[in-house]
């Protein structure tokens, strides 16, 4: 998922070893390729297919899937207005991915920043911030989302905001727990003795140790947030038509469940495959970013002990 822009010779070797480690875990490799495809769909799909995806075609109403007589775009069937499902799924990838990514990035930045403060400082904030996480955790998050979205406009920005707030405690607690432990290690003590400032210790010495855990959690959380957004859209308080996400597509297909199952089935499958890939990739990341377990992958997967 990480884009590595300037490839220097040293970086090239690193990229190759990352790819080799990914190749060693075949399910994760497939998952990574699938996620790249989804990402490409999300980035350029709407620009290419928006016209096709919104063009209504009465002859293609609820067209059954796997019927090539109406053209390859209707291979997954057509929706209630005859719009090709394949094109709509590709276009909907953008909103689905963008909302989840926005919520994950926002909650990760805020949560880990608060966690760094709560773990590193010994002052009053170290007491108050964890309580804040407890309060958020004790909220029924879906209920909070319903109230807020019902009150405000259910726009993409508000959905991101609500989802981000409910996920902050995850990063906050993890970061705090790790910082509390790393803070006492020798290299941090050494940096302090050598006169490093607090900011330098936190960002140069502690954050790099915590970051792998955060990335693993973020990958897993991406799946969770995607499911949450889909549920909200499904309940009708998430993204509103004519905007479209996969969850909303499942909801839109619901009235036609008995006559045209494919309307809800394909977008749901897209959700499932994406979250499954994220789970697989997160499992791989956990091993690949852990110096004590990385050998399993560097062995090239010949023996997974």
């Amino acid at each position: 998922m990480a884009d590595i822009a300037p490839v220097t010779p040293a970086e090239k070797g690193r990229l190759r070893s990352v790819l080799a480690m990914l190749w060693a875990d075949k399910p994760a490799f497939v998952a990574a390729i699938f996620l790249c495809v989804v990402l490409v769909c999300a980035l350029i799909g709407p620009a290419l297919l928006d016209a096709v995806a919104t063009k209504q075609n009465l002859r293609g109403r609820n067209a059954p899937p796997f019927d090539l007589s109406k053209g390859w775009l209707l291979i997954l069937g057509g929706d209630a207005l005859g719009r090709p499902l394949l094109a709509r799924i590709i276009v909907a990838a953008q909103n689905t991915i963008a909302i989840a990514a926005g919520a994950v990035v926002a909650s990760m930045i805020v949560g880990s920043a608060l966690g760094l403060v709560a773990g590193y400082s010994r002052g009053r904030w170290a007491q108050i911030i964890p309580r804040l996480a407890d309060v958020i955790m004790s909220f029924p998050s879906l209920l909070l989302a319903v109230i807020v979205l019902y009150m405000l406009e259910p726009s993409a920005a508000n959905i991101i905001l609500v989802l981000a707030i409910t996920r902050i405690p995850v990063y906050l607690r993890t970061t705090r727990a790790e910082v509390l432990e790393v803070r006492e290690r020798m290299f941090v003590q050494a940096a302090r003795v050598m006169g490093a400032s607090d900011a330098r210790i936190v960002f140069r010495h502690i954050l790099p140790v915590v970051l792998p855990t955060l990335l693993t959690i973020a990958t897993l959380d991406f799946a969770f947030v995607m499911l949450a957004e889909s549920s909200l859209s499904f309940l009708g308080i998430g993204i509103q038509a004519p905007e479209v996400t996969w969850g909303l597509m499942v909801a839109q297909g619901r009235p036609y469940l008995t006559s045209a199952w494919w309307l809800s089935f394909w977008p749901g499958l897209a959700i499932i495959l994406t979250t499954l890939s994220l789970n697989l990739l997160s499992n791989w990341l956990r091993v690949a970013l852990d110096p004590q377990q990385r050998w399993r992958l560097e062995m090239g997967g010949r023996k997974n002990g």
Binding site: P140, L142, Y150, L257, T258, L280
Partner: protein, 304 residues
Amino acid sequence: MRKFLTRRAVASAVSLLVLIVMVFFLSRLTGDPTQLYLPVDASLEARENFRNLHGLNDPLIVQFGRYVGDLLTLDFGDSIRKSRPALDVVIEAFKWTLTLALITMVLVSFAAIVFGALAAFNVGGVFDRIATFFSLIGASAPDFWIAIVAIVLFSVNLGWLPTSGTGTLWHWILPIAVLFIRPFGLILQVVRGSMITALSSPYVKTARAKGVRPRPVIFVHALRNGMLPVITVIGDQAAGMLNGAVVVESIFGFPGVGKLMIDSILQRDFAVVLAAIMVTAFAIFLMNILIDIAYAVLDPRIRY
């Protein structure tokens, strides 16, 4: 123990108070219930009477003060929608949710622990691969989608089970099965991870070397130590279910507390929303206490 319980109760009460204040004011910002409950052509006088009857004319602060005052006498207010005490409405719905959550969680915990432990016993084996694969799919699947697919398959095409509602035992099968899948996947993975750690610890190796047969080693020696993180996850999942499986309950028309909360918010039935939050919060508080006791039972080093 008493000190521990007091501390927990105070902490829960504080976060519940924050929650009540937030929900009270936020929900009143969603609009005036009068527009929903009276016909469009209702006279101004009728609207005024309705507002007076439900105390909606006073400033918010006064309304809040009155609400808290009533709470102290255990009066949760009346449901506008059903013209009954809100607490009765909530408890009725909560019974359904509690039964559903209890049955599902017992089944999930049992299945996930057995399969997870067996998978961990032979890491990389056929059983482990199958269990891991299915648990990953289970943890990744959106429940509303599973519910829809299950309805199409079992209710519409095969005609074996009812699509929604309650009444017979058959009505329970689909909601339980759909609610089962995600927690099963999540808990199985935690059981497997934690059992792999426990099974590679020296005391298990000693037991094996003494010639204890594999099954007692898994289920007696390792499982007890591997259970602590598992219980945490089970607790999280159970809390989620007590809050009401909103999506599953609304798809299956199940009269539980999740559906009640959504309906009440959409219908601006504020007293019910607040009562529902307090009842579930209390249930989750009790459950967390039980979980802490379970910790202490499993690991004698833990004392409160």
